[in-house]
Amino acid sequence: METAHKRPNYILIWIYLAVLTAAELGLAFELPITANVKLALLLFLAVWKALLVGLYFMHLKFEKWNLRMLAIIPIPLALILLFAGMSESIW
């Protein structure tokens, strides 16, 4: 059951998402920054957008902690697989 909360302003979130997407597009084109910085910024923006969708549209911000745990548990597992696979290329 969701805890009683004020409903988020979905249109406002939509505007945030649109702005972040535009920022990503801006970054994608030639800018005087190194590839690694660009990658980090793009990933940061993508994660921020994903969090907005997860927390507000999927209402995770207002759910109980145990449902949030359920949603979060796969992420460390996915990261473990990812880092193990990537480690093969660095030796």
Binding site: P74, I80, L81, A84, S87, E88, W91
Partner: protein, 588 residues
């Protein structure tokens, strides 16, 4: 949606006017689905065993025509002599059928489906129609896999682990469409498994009856619940990998193709990331079942119930970070390899805790050596042997020598047969009355147990020895190697035991089928057990109970001081018991 639960409840309480097809073919009743899985999996167990018999013939008598071999097509066994191509299909499909369609479906498809709602006091699973979909997709998956043996050029033959690019290219493996069928079958199987998992998890979380708190749940339910979580998160990775393999096979992608920048080791990481949680899926429910059988047979509470729960959770948790121990000789990153060695050695600890706790349960118990108890005790002993051999493999420097030898084959069969399969047999005998309303024959059950136990050890124990001597896995003809020639009599000994082992299963088969129709009619609680499933009639009716039970205590109150009998069912209200706090649960 609000009223569905209410109307379903009402329907169960009154008449059952479903058609034959709705009752037995496309049923949404968890018990019927569990029994459908039982028949499906026993069939695949028999097929897997038949494939193993052919493997053992070839190893004992390489190059000699196999009895019945002339029934096979010329492309597989000309004149009854098995060809290497066919032999590799045998080892591949034996592994595939046994791991996926026999053991996994027996433990999860049968027991999770049949037991969970009964043991937590629910009318059915949270999503009965998804449950039905799960069975039929498993059926379709099995059909595709079986059919792959009969297509042109036969089935896949890259080992049940399907290492790419061997499994990806027809020109490497020699198989044709059979390869793609393996991938397609596994994708279907993944769908079935994920649908099942989400049902079991939701049901256990939300559909427990009043008084059935988390720490009053039987260990079999805990084990099945945690197994479902493992399956939920590991099987999708297999599905993804199988899809990538299928695309490699039919679309010409290059994931695992080194010439185009792909990585063969990527397949291994993906497969074993699934594969290791998979082996815990194959053992944890068996451990849960053993807890039920041993507590019942010892007439004592499980020793250390809470630590048993935490041990299951610990095994499941650590199981995510040990997969690299299957890859020690792959050329993987050595630092990563070392971390896997440490975590693998650690995972022995919770398993050992469980073994000690079972022993503590039996200690000074009022032991009843009924057939399920015999199987439970055999599990404890055989699983321990399998676990001990596992320690050798966990140590990377040792594994360098024993990887891909028969030492590994011995280990895996000790845990999967000596462990899982004994638990399965015990479970089938134990819950047969609840499934079918009759008892299996006790005397023949004991004969079957002892013959199986003796021939199983005769078959698999020597494999440790020949493995240490260097006998490789998936080997077509050991006699081409001089160093293996002296061990050939041992191979013959193993094979003879294997043939007798398979033959002994006929006793189980006949006992099972005969008892279905002519077995002694069973009472509600023939084993004098405490679980909720024993508080409804045998066989359990559609809907399980008219009124759901209320639980007042834990599941292992055997030989409780002051009780009139040596067991105390969970739902029996004593004058000293309080009613649990009844909350209007949001689950339903």
């Amino acid at each position: 949606m609000t009223t569905v639960a209410a109307t379903a409840h009402a329907t169960h309480a009154h008449h059952d006017d479903r058609s034959f097809i709705q009752k037995y073919i496309f049923s949404t009743d968890h018990k019927v689905i569990g029994i459908q899985f039982l028949f499906l999996t026993l069939f695949f167990l028999a097929i897997g065993g038949l494939l193993a018999m052919q493997i053992r013939w070839q190893l004992a008598y390489p190059g000699k025509p196999m009895p019945g071999g002339t029934l096979l097509p010329e492309t597989m066994a000309p004149g009854g002599v098995l060809l290497p191509e066919y032999y590799l299909q045998l080892v591949t499909m034996h592994g595939t059928f046994m791991v996926f369609f026999a053991i996994m479906l027996l433990l999860v498809g049968v027991y999770a489906n049949f037991l969970i709602p009964l043991k937590i006091g629910a009318h059915d699973m949270a999503f009965p129609r998804i449950n039905m979909a799960s069975f039929w997709s498993a059926f379709a998956s099995g059909a595709v896999m079986l059919a792959s043996l009969f297509v042109q050029d036969g089935s896949s033959r890259a080992g049940w682990t399907m290492y790419a690019p061997l499994s990806a290219r027809h020109d490497y493996s020699g198989a044709d469409f059979g390869q793609e069928m393996w991938s397609i079958s596994i994708i279907l199987f993944g769908l079935s498994s994920i649908l099942g998992s989400l049902n079991y998890i939701t049901t256990v979380i939300n559909n427990r009856c009043a008084g059935m708190t988390w720490f009053r749940m039987p260990l079999s339910v805990w084990a099945l619940f945690i197994t479902a979580i493992l399956g939920l998160l590991a099987v999708p990775v297999l599905a993804g990998a199988a899809i990538m393999l299928l695309f490699e096979q039919i679309l010409g992608t290059h994931f695992f193709d080194p010439a185009a920048g792909g990585q063969p080791i990527l397949w291994q990481h993906l497969f074993w990331f699934f594969g290791h949680p998979e082996v815990y899926i194959l053992i944890l429910p068996a451990m849960g079942i053993v807890s039920e059988l041993v507590a019942n047979g010892s007439r004592k509470p499980i020793f250390g119930y809470h630590s048993m729960v935490f041990a299951i959770a610990g095994i499941a948790f650590l199981g995510w970070i040990v997969w690299g121990h299957h890859m020690f000789v792959s050329g993987m990153n050595p630092t990563l390899g070392s971390s896997f060695m440490v975590s693998t050695l650690l995972i022995a600890v919770p398993s050992a805790i469980k073994v000690f706790n079972w022993m503590g349960t039996m200690w000074r118990g009022n032991l009843r050596f009924h057939v399920p108890m015999l199987h439970g005790i055999a599990f404890i002993a055989m699983f321990t042997i399998g676990g001990l051999s596992g320690i050798f493999m966990a140590a990377t420097p040792v594994d360098m020598f024993i990887h891909d030898t028969y030492f590994i084959v011995a280990h895996l069969h000790y845990v999967l047969f000596g462990g899982s399969l004994f638990a399965i047999f015990g479970g089938i005998v134990f819950w047969f009355p609840k499934m079918f309303g009759r008892m299996m024959n006790e005397g023949w059950g004991k004969v079957h147990f002892w013959l199986t136990f003796i021939f199983y050890n005769g078959c698999f124990f020597p494999m440790h020895i020949i493995g240490m001597a260097g006998h490789m896995r998936r080997l077509y003809d050991p006699t081409v190697y001089d160093f293996l020639k002296p061990w050939q009599p041992m191979n013959e000994f193993i094979s003879i035991n294997a043939f007798l082992l398979y033959g002994s299963q006929i006793i189980f088969f006949v006992n099972f089928w005969w008892s279905l129709f002519k077995g002694k009619k069973a009472s509600e609680n023939p084993w004098e057990d405490n679980g909720l499933e024993w508080s409804c009639p045998s066989p359990a009716p559609h809907g399980n109970w008219e009124t759901l039970p209320t639980v007042y205590r834990g599941p292992y109150e055997f030989s409780a001081p002051g009780a009139s009998k040596d067991y105390l069912p969970q739902n029996l209200k004593l004058p000293t018991d309080r009613d649990p706090v009844l909350t209007p649960a949001a689950g339903h």
